[in-house]
Symmetry: C2
Subunit: 447 residues, 2 copies
Amino acid sequence: MSWVDDSNAALLTDLYELTMAASYHGHGMSGRATFDLFVRELPPRRNFMIACGLEQALQYIENLTFESDSIDYLRSLSLFSEDFLTYLSELSFTGDVWAIPEGEVVFEREPFLRVTAPLIEAQLLEPFLINCITFQTMVASKAARVAIACRDRSFVDFSLRRDHAADAALKAARAAFVGGATGTSNVLAGKFYGLPVSGTMAHSYVMAFEDEEAAFRAYMQDFPEAAVLLIDTFDIEEGARRAARVANDLRDQGMRLRGVRIDSGDLAPRARSVRKILDEAGLEDTGIILSGDLDEYRIKDLLDDDVPVDSFGVGTQLGTSADAPTLGGVYKLVADDRGPKIKLSAGKATLPGRKQVYRVEAEGHYQRDVIALESEEVEGRSLLKRVMRDGRRLGPPPSLSEAQSLCRDSLTKLPPALRSLEGQEDYQVDYSAGLEAMIEEMKAQSR
Amino acid sequence: MSWVDDSNAALLTDLYELTMAASYHGHGMSGRATFDLFVRELPPRRNFMIACGLEQALQYIENLTFESDSIDYLRSLSLFSEDFLTYLSELSFTGDVWAIPEGEVVFEREPFLRVTAPLIEAQLLEPFLINCITFQTMVASKAARVAIACRDRSFVDFSLRRDHAADAALKAARAAFVGGATGTSNVLAGKFYGLPVSGTMAHSYVMAFEDEEAAFRAYMQDFPEAAVLLIDTFDIEEGARRAARVANDLRDQGMRLRGVRIDSGDLAPRARSVRKILDEAGLEDTGIILSGDLDEYRIKDLLDDDVPVDSFGVGTQLGTSADAPTLGGVYKLVADDRGPKIKLSAGKATLPGRKQVYRVEAEGHYQRDVIALESEEVEGRSLLKRVMRDGRRLGPPPSLSEAQSLCRDSLTKLPPALRSLEGQEDYQVDYSAGLEAMIEEMKAQSR
C-alpha cells in the first residue's frame, strides 16, 4: 500500500506551494522570511488549547527532502523547469524554529510556532505544519477537557477504529496522552511512543464461546493478572454475577479479576448495581471500567451523579474531537527581508513582525498573556523557545511524560472559569505597546 | 519519524484483538467465522453513503504480517506466550472477502464487507477495516453531497491542511474523487492515486512581492497557461482589475489567464462584480474559482443565487465531514463453525448469518434493497461481490475513475427525495423471509 514516510512527506503539500516556490526561485527571491502558525479563533465551547504535535513537525522539517522519485513525479506534471527541479532535489531546511512546548496551554492569536528561513523553505512547510500541529493540538485540547471531567479517575484512548485513517489513530493516541490519558488501546501507538497499552475484550469474544461463563473462565485463565471482563453482551447484572462467580472460583489458583467493563445501556444505574454485586462477592478490588460513546460531558454527569467507576474508555469523541472536529490553524507571513508584513482583510488580519508570547502569573494562576515584538522587554515568562537553529535541533525533545506533566500543571494554573466545559470564557491576551504601534503604523502606510 | 507502513500495520490494532486472539489460539478455536462490516445508523442529515476504502482494506488484508520487530514489541508486553508469538509470526490471511464495490450507494445496516476466515484472522482485522472503510466512506459520502450541490460545476479537494494527520489527507483526496471531485491540491495524493492536481496561489505570495501587480505579472509569466490569480489579498475589485490589466498586457505574448480565485468576503456579490470586470476587459474565458469554508449548503445557496462561478475549492468541511465527523462503522461476528450468531442488545442488535444485499430498480431509480441470507434466491441485483478467495485477490481493482463513474450513476438512480441535502429521508431496506425467520428462531432460542 502507498504510505506517507520520510522519503515522500515533502510531497504531502498543496500544489500551489510548489508553484509559488518555483516562481520565487525563478525571480531569485531567496531572502529570509518569518511565518507564524496560530489559531485565529477557538472553536465553540473551547476556552484554551494544549499545544501538541511539535515533535512530529520538527522531525518533518529536519528530514525535508525531495527524493528522485518525488522529482520524477513533479517533472511529469509539466509545470516546473529543470532548474527548479534541481534546486528542489538539493533542498533541505536551513532555518530557525521557535515553538511553545508541547503540553503548554495556548490561546487564540498566539503563535505556537515561528519559522524563519529562506522564503521557499519556510513557505513549503505550510500544509504539513498546519495539518500536524492543529490535529494533535485539537485532540490534546479535547483530552484535557476529558481529564478535567474525570477528576481523579483515569481514562484511556479507545479511538483507533473511529479516527480519520491510519496516521490519525497514532497521533490521537499520542495527543490524548499529552492531554491526560493514562494510555491507549492502540498497540502501534504504544510501540512508537512508549505509551502504556491496555485492553479488555469484545462482545464477539463472548459470543465465540459456548456461553458467557465459558468465555470469562477462559479469559481469566489466559490472563490471570490482567483480565478485564466485558459483562454486557447479554444481561449486565447476570454478567456481573457470572464474572464474580468465575473470579471467586479461580481465586484459589492465584488469579485476580482486575476489572469489568460496561459498554452499553444506562451506565449510572448499571454501574451501581454491578458495584453492589462485586462488593457482595468480596471483589471490592475489582474495578469498573465504563465505555460507549463517552465524552467530557457524559463523564462529568456520571461523576456528578457519584457513579462507582475506576476508569473510562473514551473513543470516537476523543479521537475526532467530534463536537469541534476542526481547528482553524493558519501559517502566515509576518516578516521578510524588507521588514514586517501585515494582512488587513476583515476577519483574516495578521500580527506583523517577529514576536514572542509572555505569560503573567499571579497567586498560582495565569493572569494574562502579552503578544510582543521579539525586540521588546515585557513582563512575564516567555513561551516561545528556540528549538531549531540553521536547520538543526537544539536538543532532544522533552519526553511525552514531561509534556503530560506540563499539561497537568498548566491546567491547574488556568483561571478556574476557563476549566468550565460549557460556554466560552475569554482569557486576556494583550498586545504590547511596541506591537500596537507597529500595527498602527502599518495600517497608516497602507491607507 | 515513525510512520505506519506495510511492515507494521498489523500492530495498528487494539490490544484486545491480540489478547482475544491469544486466548482463541490457546483454546484451539481455529474454526472459520464470518464478520460483517456495516453502519448501524446514518449520521444526521445523511440519506445514503458511498462505499469507499475497499482497495486499501484489501491491500492491508493481503499484506497482513507480524514482522520480527512487531513480535519483539509484543513480547515486551509480557502478556503473550512464545507459542502464540510464533503463531503470529507465521500468520497470514487465508480467508474470503465479499464487498460492495467502491462508489456504490449503501444504506444503514447493509454489510459493505463480509469476511470469512479462521476466527483469529477474521477478528484481528476489526480496527483497521473499520478505520479504513468508514473514514473513506464518510468523506466519499460528503463529497457526493457536494457534487449534488455543485450541479454542473466542478469542485476540487483543498482539505490537506485541515485533515486529521497525514494519512487522512491522502485518503480524503482519494475518497473525494470517488464522490465526485475533479481533483485535489494534494501532490502526494496525486502521485499515489493518479489524481489530477491543481492549485492557485496563497496570500503570502502576493505579499512577498513589492505589490499585487508585480505578483500577478510574475506568476503569469511563470505559468503562462495555468495561472489562477488570488485576487482578494487587499481589495477584491481592485485585484480583479489588476489581474485583467496584467492578463491583457501579457496576451500578446501568448499568455492566458486561466482563472481568478476569491477566498474571502461575501462571495456572491464579489463574484458578480468580478465577473463583470473580467467580461468588460474581454476575459470571458477566465474562470472564477470560489473557496473559503465552503460546504454543500453554501454551494447550493450560491448556485441557487445564480452566482457566476466555474469551480469550487472545498477544504475543511469536505476532508473532515465536519457536520458529521464520525460514522459508526462496526464489524460483527455473524456466524462461526457452530452456525449463525446474533447479538440482541437494545440498539446494538446484529443480523445473523452469511448474507447478501439485493437492490431492486424500477424506472431508472433504486426502489428498495433486501438483505437476505446467502442461500436464498431474491429478486434484484446482488451488491456484495467476492473480491478475495483463500487470501488472494480475484482480480485487479476497478480504477478510481470507474469508482467515480459508478458513484455518479448511483447518485442519478437515487430516489429524488434522497438527493436532498436537508433532513433525513429513509430508503426502504427490507429483510428477506429467510432472514426474518432466522432472526425469530434465534430470538426464541435465546429466551
